[in-house]
């Protein structure tokens, strides 16, 4: 066995004009736990998808045990000994623990299932993780999230992997379960399994990882031994870019508080969020994926259950309301998931834009289609939406134009409080700039904007105030001028003070 289990050199991958990977190189030794660190969008998931065979790299090479490794597809990669555990669990909830562990790899002869053998294999995999206590017959959905995670790992172990990739495995685990997971990782390590451990939580990485590689903007920018590294240096490597002033600012001043959350909590996330949004304010919410930002907006808007805390709208208590009532209060939500939730893809642009408020063109219950199209045309002009016309199906437009229509819906609704969840996700740079400009104009008109984003430069460039969320809690809210990318990341990964494991 060579001293290097897996070597990646000069990996590149582009999607159209976007260069997701610009050159990634690093090595993992047998029995090593290697931390892969980087901001949202640094290229970690693209890299992992290349390793697991879902994507083919444009350039660069991968070596596994000294031999060139070109995975054709995920099955091939798995057979070659590369196993992946995704952040989102992908178990079949109704099947038993045993069935899940050997799903797709059932021991069988001529299509006839060998049940005793399957049981044996499943038991062995769980034993390896010291989790024999999980009942093999129980449907997976009856087990806790942590046990499901163990099942997921056991599933990866059945193939005797050489390299195990774990993507944010602790993001949904409690402290105790995290400890159990770490113990399991230590045992795998002893067996000589190489582990690539992706996490935003640097303290965790420090505890269990031997070495680290930092990715930034699709490049590997630094590698080193974890024990000797200064966390500050790692953060500097993660951020390492200048903020450019591409954010047009429209001068605006803050007015009365319009929208206030007090210790708002949802079913699992968020745990406690308090913030005050004023007229004419753009309030940014930063945080890592899974910190509970989207869930906060959804609970406040009434799409998800609100389990605790209070909501105030224009000074009056108004805690539990349906989306219908929220819209009537002049609150609008822009969904982060444009295709699945935000838009009715096979309906017309006009219907998508005006569905929350048909009133201006409705007489005696009948919609005046001509007036509706005219109003739509006006909005299309104002928002610079490129389309054939108001009757075109929205699914035929580009992402940027779709997003403008989705925002236009809030404007047509004359919402005073806009909850914007990742409004610039998946749209081109030109459209992004238009969205920033529009946000500034809306604030100048006295509207209040709550702006959730995973991209720090835009938060720093556009917002008046920024609050940072970590593990379901809005930790700190301060004027944007008092934040830097470093300090935001520090708080987001639970570094500053002792908030992480409180």
């Amino acid at each position: 066995m060579s001293a290097t289990r897996l070597r990646m050199s000069g990996l590149q991958k582009a999607f159209g004009a976007t260069r997701a990977l610009r050159g990634v190189s690093f090595e993992v030794a047998p029995g090593e736990v290697h931390a892969l660190i980087g901001e949202n969008g640094a290229g970690k998931s693209t890299l992992m998808k290349i390793l697991s065979g879902a994507y083919t790299p444009d350039a660069g090479s991968i070596e596994l045990d000294g031999e060139a490794f070109v995975p054709d597809d995920p099955l091939h990669a798995r057979r070659c000994g590369i196993a992946m555990i995704y952040q989102e669990l992908i178990l079949a909830p109704h099947l038993s623990v045993e069935e899940n562990i050997l799903l797709g790899e059932e021991p069988a002869k001529f299509g006839w299932l060998n049940r005793p053998r399957r049981r044996e294999l499943a038991r062995a995999a769980l034993a390896e993780l010291h989790h024999e206590n999980i009942p093999l017959e129980a449907p997976v959905k009856t087990r806790t999230i942590a046990e499901q995670q163990i099942v997921e790992i056991a599933r990866a172990l059945v193939h005797q992997p050489k390299v195990l990739i774990m993507d944010e495995p602790t993001s949904s685990l409690t402290q105790v379960d995290t400890e159990n997971l770490f113990a399991a990782i230590a045992r795998l390590k002893q067996r000589g399994v190489s582990i690539i451990y992706i996490s935003h939580f640097l303290e965790e990485c420090r505890r269990i990882c031997d070495r680290f590689t930092v990715l930034r903007d699709g490049e590997s920018v630094g590698t080193g031994a974890m024990a000797s590294a200064d966390l500050k240096d790692i953060i500097r490597l993660m951020v390492g870019r200048e903020i450019q002033d591409i954010y047009p600012r429209t001068p605006h001043s803050l007015g009365e508080p319009l929208f206030e959350l007090r210790e708002v909590a949802g079913r699992t996330k968020p745990r406690s969020v308090s913030l005050t949004l004023r007229a004419g304010e753009i309030f940014g919410v930063a945080g890592l994926i899974g910190a509970g930002r989207t869930e906060t907006l959804r609970a406040a808007f009434g799409l998800d259950r609100l389990d605790g805390g209070a909501v105030f709208v224009q000074g009056a208590a108004s805690t539990r309301r349906t989306p219908t009532q929220r819209l009537a209060q002049g609150i609008g939500l822009l969904s982060e998931n444009r295709k699945e939730e935000g838009l009715m893809l096979n309906r017309s642009l006009a219907d998508n834009l005006t569905v929350t408020r048909f009133a201006p063109f409705t007489k005696f219950g009948l919609i005046n289609g001509r007036a509706q199209r005219q109003a739509t045309r006006d909005w299309m002009q104002r928002l610079d939406v490129r389309a054939q016309g108001p009757a075109q199906a929205i699914g035929e437009l580009s992402g940027g134009n779709q997003q403008k229509v989705a925002i236009g819906r809030l404007l047509h609704h004359e919402a005073k409080i806009l909850l914007l969840d990742e409004p610039t996700r998946g749209i081109d740079v030109g459209s992004k700039a238009q969205v920033y400009k529009l946000m500034g104009q809306l604030a100048a008109e006295g509207k209040a904007l709550l702006f959730v984003s995973s991209y720090l430069p835009e938060l720093l460039g556009v917002c008046d105030t920024i609050g940072v969320m970590c593990r379901g809690v809005l930790v700190a809210a301060r004027p944007a001028s008092e934040w830097t990318e470093h300090s935001i990341i520090n708080v987001a990964i639970g570094q500053s003070e002792n908030l992480e494991f409180s």
Partner: protein, 436 residues
């Protein structure tokens, strides 16, 4: 009676003229220059139709109208005045109306890029597709001259239209449900129950009006229960209405004492009665009720807030919720409202058979669903139209009737209808993947 027949004929021609105009102008995504060509073609077709209309109304009208239509410009203006929608549609697009509807200079400037032509042709096909299917089916049965002499007659079309009524009225409700992304399997049972309810009330001596009203309401009650369970417990419509299929059928048999209920001779029987069976007009009142309700429902689905909400819920329920539409409330409304139509279908059934039969209309829901799907609706929700569903219902009736006239056995009809359903949906799928 002769006067009424004439009036009915006139209305049919008026509807046809509107249909042709509506189809071409409904395809709103057409590029401007194509619209002009369309306007020219449909202008001519509409003129012919309007001419027939005028002739039916009064022979001297025809002369006046002929003079008018000799000057196409004035003819077209007349047409546009008659059809307000067309006027606005043309004016919206800034179309200059000249000889035969389109300006020569503009026609020469046609610069059509192939993709927009393809997509426009697709969208026109989308709206006239079911209609072409109907013409095709009628054409096929008319091939043999022997059959044609029975099949292609006014008397036979009167029968076809009358046979369509029950499915068509059911399809009005089902279109709402399917567009909203749901399904209702309990229609056959609801129709049987409603017809038994009506017959029982008539036997007990209630007046026909009261009996009719309660018959319709009984369908509404079944729909209300369906809707309340589906919305209240967030259950799958397929399962809930499957259960209701059994409940409704059982209730009908119970109420009828497990036998048919012969209702006394009342005015209800006249709704579907065939007067003067040798000629097309006058059509029975049931046909006119169906046409009238179809027009109303078409407006409800296309032009009202309620209608837009139905489409929104079917297109993307998550978005509908995000946009403040009370999804569950509307679902309950949709099923209840549709139930009223199924109750009316039951009334038509009662009128046709002159008895309440608890074992009638088994499998009717499948005919209705087939009609809606042939008419272009998707079972995934979000698409569909009343006009399409009505044509779908007609296609089903023509297939049945034609097969009878050809002397084919019933098992043959069943096979043919099954194949047609698969073909229609397959064609639709093909169209969608092409346009996507």
């Amino acid at each position: 009676m002769f006067e009424i027949a004439k009036l009915q004929k006139a209305i049919i021609w008026l509807l046809a003229a509107n249909f042709v105009l509506g189809v071409s102008l409904g395809a709103t995504s057409l590029p401007r220059n194509l619209i002009q060509v369309e306007a020219a073609i449909t202008g001519v077709i509409s003129l012919v139709l309007m001419y027939r209309l005028a002739k039916i109304l009064h022979p001297s009208f025809a002369l006046v109208y002929a003079i008018f239509s000799a000057i196409p410009l004035i003819g077209l203006i007349c047409l546009l005045v008659l059809n307000g929608k067309a006027t606005t549609a043309l004016r919206c697009r800034g179309i200059r109306v000249g000889l035969l509807g389109a300006d020569r200079g503009d026609l020469s400037k046609l610069a059509l890029d192939s993709s927009s032509v393809a997509s426009s042709v697709g969208s026109v096909l989308n709206s006239v597709g079911p209609f072409l299917g109907l013409l095709l089916v009628i054409g096929l049965f008319s091939l043999s001259s022997e059959v044609r002499s029975f099949f292609l007659t006014g008397a036979n079309f009167k029968i076809i239209l009358t046979q369509t009524v029950i499915v068509a009225i059911g399809a009005l409700g089902m279109t709402m449900i399917i567009v909203s992304g749901g399904i209702d399997l309990s229609v056959g049972s609801a129709v049987a129950l409603a017809s038994v309810v009506g017959a029982t009330l008539l036997v007990k001596g209630f007046s026909p009006a009261v009996a009719a009203l309660i018959t319709i309401l009984s369908g509404g009650v079944i729909g209300l229960v369906n809707g309340a369970v589906i919305a209240g417990f967030r259950m799958l419509p397929f399962i809930v209405t499957l259960g209701m299929m059994g409940v409704g059928r059982g209730a009908a048999k119970w109420l009828a004492g497990n036998q048919t209920v012969n209702s006394p001779e009342t005015s209800i029987n006249a709704i579907m009665g065939l007067e003067e069976p040798t000629q097309l007009f006058p059509l029975p009142p049931g046909v006119w009720i169906a046409i009238g309700l179809a027009v109303v429902m078409s407006v409800v689905l296309r032009q009202t807030v309620f209608g837009r909400y139905i489409f929104a819920i079917g297109s993307n329920e998550a978005t509908a919720r995000l946009c403040g539409i009370r999804v569950q409330l509307h679902k309950a409304l949709i099923y209840s409202f549709a139930g009223l139509f199924f109750g009316l279908s039951g009334l038509m059934q009662l009128s046709r058979l002159t008895q309440g039969d608890p074992t009638v209309a088994i499998g009717l829901e499948l005919d209705i669903i087939a009609a809606v799907v042939i008419g272009g609706a998707s079972l995934n929700g979000g698409t569909g139209s009343i006009l399409g569903s009505m044509i779908g219902a007609l296609i089903m009736a023509v297939l049945r009737n034609g097969s009878n006239q050809m002397g084919w056995p019933t098992y043959m009809q069943e096979i043919i209808i099954g194949v047609v359903i698969i073909l229609a949906v397959g064609l639709d799928k093909f169209r969608q993947t092409r346009s996507a």
